[in-house]
Symmetry: C2
């Protein structure tokens, strides 16, 4: 029970931080939105930073699970899956309440490379790269690591721009660019 309460807290914090930003959302507000007292939160998390780290771990799991399943649902063979990454992203961009990448936001607010929040955000990107590399390998890419890194660059650029400019347009641009990169890597 106490565990599920903690999870509820993290879920709520995730939503609030994603919609409002980490510095902008205070612990009082988090407590009020979760319907508990601030002290109750501090029973589960020693500091705000710990709570943020917990939300990032949850988000990492959520996002990568979602992406992996969505890609598998959209395409069968590895080559098509590499492209399907950008179809999945396009769907995300058009969702209500899309406001960019949680980890880009986190690293934008906690700027020092040694900051645990920054480190956790970097790790998320590394895990994505590893996932992309796996598909690139199965697709028979000449240099799977290189292709994975290119896909990652395109993905991050697309997310940033989808939040600033026209999301549908950016999704198309990113997919077109990915197609060129994939073709080149599999040639």
């Amino acid at each position: 029970m106490s565990l599920s309460k903690r999870d509820e807290l993290v879920q709520g914090a995730l939503k609030a931080f994603y919609a409002g930003g980490f510095h902008a959302i205070g612990m009082d507000r988090l407590a009020k939105e979760a319907g508990v007292s601030k002290t109750a939160i501090y029973k589960h998390f020693r500091t705000k930073e710990e709570l943020i780290l917990a939300t990032l771990r949850l988000r990492d799991e959520q996002f990568r699970n979602w992406l992996i399943r969505r890609v598998e649902a959209l395409a069968e063979n590895p080559r098509d899956q590499l492209l399907a990454i950008f179809d999945a992203l396009g769907e995300w961009f058009l969702e209500d309440g899309f406001k960019g990448c949680m980890f880009i936001k986190a690293s934008s607010e906690y700027l020092d490379r040694e900051d645990p929040i920054h480190v956790t955000s970097a790790e998320h990107k590394r895990l994505l790269k590893t996932y992309f590399k796996g598909i690139a390998q199965k697709a028979g890419a000449r240099d799977p690591e290189a292709l994975a890194k290119q896909i990652l660059v395109i993905k991050e650029g697309a997310i940033v721009l989808a939040h600033l400019l026209d999301p549908a347009e950016v999704a198309d641009d990113a997919k077109g660019l990915a197609r060129i990169a994939i073709e080149d890597a599999l040639r």
Copy 2:
């Protein structure tokens, strides 16, 4: 004189916001770092938001000027200039105190698309796209607008990842990806 004082203020705020984040840096701290009183700042800017907008306008001018001149210095013909964009970015990534893109950070803290800070950040990206499109046209790209948007995607992804992972490596990856996109667009 009063104008240059204002400019000094904006310069100082730019540095502070870039290194520390917008919410994290308070007006008291800005005043102390600038060596003036808070009231003196509020004589020039009605709100913190106005000061932030002024820093973003300055940063837009600084960054685009720097990029344009650096690219022109690095390459003569338009095709090479498109690639040189990523040499210039690579230099920036390796500078001391590089902490990502000011506008990505701004749009990460001011999330609503209607927020003036967000709007200003989007405008910066649009201006960059226009700059890229101009070079793409001179280079004889099949679809200059499309290439410009691809270059922009690569650039934003590279900046984000350079702040999270290995900057030199990311710069190389981005340039390699750009080369493929440029070749394709000029084929």
